[in-house]
């Protein structure tokens, strides 16, 4: 993972990022791609269930809820970094 990359699960509500790679079993990756999770597409982080998981991601106009075990294996390039305080 290059220094600019992050895991989708690391982002916070309202963050935006460009999808880079789906490091998932073929079956799961293909399902995600059918839902619009294609490398190069922009994803926005939305609301989540209680405790922050699963989280809703907006990609290409659809809202898809993912558990963190899936989103932790999705590699993204964040569009904007938030300063850690």
């Amino acid at each position: 993972m290059s220094p600019h990359e992050a895991r989708l699960s690391d982002l916070r509500e309202g963050d935006r990022a460009v999808l880079k790679e789906l490091d998932l079993p073929h079956h799961t990756a293909e399902h995600l791609m059918c839902l619009g999770f294609i490398p190069g597409v922009e994803v926005t982080v939305g609301k989540s269930g209680p405790g922050g998981d699963p989280r809703v991601y907006n990609v290409d106009g659809s809202n898809v809820a993912l558990r963190s075990d899936v989103s932790a294996n999705v590699c993204v390039l964040p569009k904007m970094y938030r300063t850690q305080s």
């Binding site: 998932l24 079956h27 799961t28 293909e30 399902h31 995600l32 791609m33 059918c34 839902l35 619009g36 294609i38 490398p39 939305g46 609301k47 989540s48 269930g49 209680p50 405790g51 998981d53 699963p54 809703v56 907006n58 290409d60 106009g61 659809s62 809202n63 898809v64 809820a65 993912l66 558990r67 075990d69 899936v70």
Partner: protein, 627 residues
């Protein structure tokens, strides 16, 4: 509505070729069912493909020449690579390889106009099947309202098929379907559609096609974002979820109960009236005490059950159920279940049979079996009559949360809760022992919020009423008649015996020692046996038995029940029904889904033992503390 369709692409293949059957294909949430309902109205039925468990609707529509065309509503799919059973069935049907189902002559492909580039990926694969295809872009009205646009003719050229913008919910632009069906046996012009199995490249093609058709994506729905902001709020989301659940129960009680009571009064009045017209004798008794009182005691719950289906229908059609799945996922995971189990489990609140069929979306086999095994613990609508009757007879109405939530609704909610707890505890045991497996991924698309349409809700209720009335007219009627006959045998000098000396009473007395510790008498015992056919049969059984018994003949079923049971016995009866597997349809569907007798037998024994022990505990505890 721009029903702009490039009908020029429709060219007759041969004058004789006619369209006899059309398959409707589309991704989930694209408005497929709405379109299907619009086109066929009430002329449809639910069916299963032979040999597999995938459910589909079959409906009929007349073309312009007045000929009947069959419409097959296939399951919602994301792709045509046969991964899940749904996708495999769709591929088989389209290729004409599904035994017993003729190959469709044409396809109606419905896509969501709001998200064209994504859905065109599916279009590529469906058009490549090579059948004449009509592409309908649903939600054409919202596309424009939200600032999107599309050159329909350009898209038709790109795809080589007729294309039309429609609104299935409003019924706009649907005349194009008639034109498509009447353009007898057309073939699509050969379009340069790549047969690609790589999603990324297919997507690139889709984006190019969308671009060439001047597709401008609409702005995301503000309402969906706003409502998600409320319903998935960290603090308020779970609170709203709890309020929704409580409101559903209160509504079924506060609103459904008077409706059912009124309906029951009406049916009883009709029964007395019909009885008065007949000469007194065995035939009158058979008709009124046997058939009529048995069937109507169950039929009376129709209004309440319809109310339940209406409420679940509103929650599902509006899009809230998917949010509820997100909110409850954490809990589901704690018991070792996939979040995908939530939706089948939720629909099990209506009926376990479709719920068990819905588990086929769960890829992991062990998760699927675990979900099948726990689904019947969810309080299905057949338990509702039993719960309502016993609660109405035994629980006094007291306010708990002001006028909104009373003690009867609380008792009902309590029964739903113990069913749910039994389910998650069972899931936990199964998932940490014989059905242990790795977590499978939770991926759930959240549809945009929509107003549920009167048409789609109406059709659901019609479907349910039909199923319910058919069951009352077959299974319940048959059980009532047999029961009536058994209460009138053996004959003594040509006269029926006192009910206490009848075959039924004797059989009931045989099981009585087993159920005596639960606080049940022989009549309840007979009810427990007959209700193995279907839960609500206990009501008709008690209706018949008490209707014939001179001691309780004049009493309503509630009053008769009140004399029959102690409070402990009543609570025990409720607990028994919460846990027991009293449903042959469910057992049959579990047998079919798991393809073995092992699971339904395990399930039936486990649930019966749990029901017996639960009822025993309830009777003993209530007897000790409240008597």
């Amino acid at each position: 509505m721009a029903s702009a369709v490039e009908i020029g692409n429709l060219r007759p293949a041969s004058p004789e070729a006619k369209v006899h059957s059309v398959a409707i294909v589309g991704p989930p949430n694209s408005g497929k069912s709405t379109l299907f309902n619009r086109l066929t109205g009430l002329r449809q039925k639910v069916a299963n493909f032979p040999g597999v468990t995938v459910e589909h609707h079959l409906g009929y529509i007349r073309n312009r020449d007045g000929e009947e065309v069959a419409l097959i509503d296939l399951p919602g799919i994301y792709s045509l690579t046969p991964k899940s059973e749904d996708e495999r069935v769709t591929v088989d049907v389209l290729r004409g390889e599904m035994p017993g189902t003729p190959k469709p002559d044409a396809i109606i492909l419905i896509l969501d106009a709001m998200n064209l580039s994504r859905h065109l990926v599916l279009a590529a694969r469906v058009i490549a099947v090579g059948l004449p295809t009509l592409v309908l872009l649903n939600m054409g009205d919202s596309l424009k309202a939200q600032g999107g646009s599309l050159d329909v003719l350009a898209l038709a050229r790109e795809l080589g098929t007729p294309v039309a913008l429609i609104s299935a919910a409003k019924g706009e632009g649907l005349d194009v379907v008639q034109r498509f069906l009447s353009a007898k046996g057309t073939t699509p012009a050969p379009a340069a559609i790549p047969v690609i199995n790589d999603v990324v490249r297919c997507r690139e093609w889709a984006c190019t096609v969308a671009q060439n058709s001047s597709y401008r994506k609409p702005l995301p729905s503000k309402w969906t974002q706003r409502l998600d902001g409320i319903f998935l709020d960290k603090k308020y989301g779970p609170v709203i979820f709890a309020v929704v659940v409580i409101a559903v129960f209160q509504c079924i009680f506060a609103l459904g109960q008077p409706l059912s009571d009124g309906f029951k009064g009406l049916l009883d009045f009709a029964g007395r009236h019909i009885g008065g017209l007949l000469p007194v004798g065995l035939f009158q008794s058979l008709l009124i005490d046997g058939a009529w009182s048995g069937v109507t005691s169950v039929l009376a719950f129709l209004p309440q059950i319809l109310l339940l289906f209406l409420v679940i229908g509103v929650l599902e059609d509006s899009g809230y159920l998917a949010r509820a799945a997100v909110i409850t996922d954490r809990t589901m995971r704690k018991v070792g279940l996939n979040g995908k189990s939530f939706i089948p489990l939720l629909s099990a609140y209506a009926c376990a049979v479709p719920a068990i069929m819905a588990t086929r979306t769960i890829e992991d086999k062990r998760d699927r079996i675990a979900t099948i095994l726990i689904a019947p613990f969810m309080t299905c609508s057949a338990r509702l009559p039993v719960y309502t009757m016993v609660i109405a007879a035994f629980i006094p109405e007291r306010r708990i949360l002001g006028p909104f939530f009373g003690s009867k609704a609380a008792a009902m909610l309590g029964l739903y809760v113990i069913g749910f707890l039994a389910a998650i505890m069972t899931a936990r045991i199964l998932k940490s022992s014989i059905l242990r497996s790795k977590d499978s991924p939770f991926i759930l698309e959240l549809p945009p919020y929509r107003w549920p349409t009167v048409q789609s809700l109406g059709l659901r209720l019609y479907d349910r009423s039909k199923a319910f009335v058919v069951r009352a007219g077959t299974v319940i009627l048959a059980v009532s008649l047999v029961l009536w006959a058994l209460t009138h045998l053996p004959l003594h000098n040509g006269q029926p015996p006192e009910i206490g000396n009848s075959i039924v009473a004797k059989a009931g007395h045989v099981i009585e020692p087993v159920i005596r510790p639960l606080g049940f008498d022989w009549k309840i015992g007979v009810g427990l046996v007959t209700s193995i056919a279907a839960r609500e049969v206990i009501i008709s059984t008690l209706g018949t038995l008490n209707g014939i018994d001179p001691e309780s003949h004049a009493l309503s079923l509630q009053q008769a029940l009140h004399n029959q049971l102690t409070l402990g016995g009543a609570i025990a009866l409720l607990v028994f029904f919460a846990f027991a597997m009293q449903c042959t349809s469910t057992l049959a569907v579990v047998r079919r889904e798991t393809n073995s007798w092992k699971w339904p037998l395990i399930q039936f024994s486990y649930m019966t033992v749990l029901a017996y022990l639960g009822a025993l505990a309830a009777n003993v505890l209530v007897g000790r503390f409240f008597a």
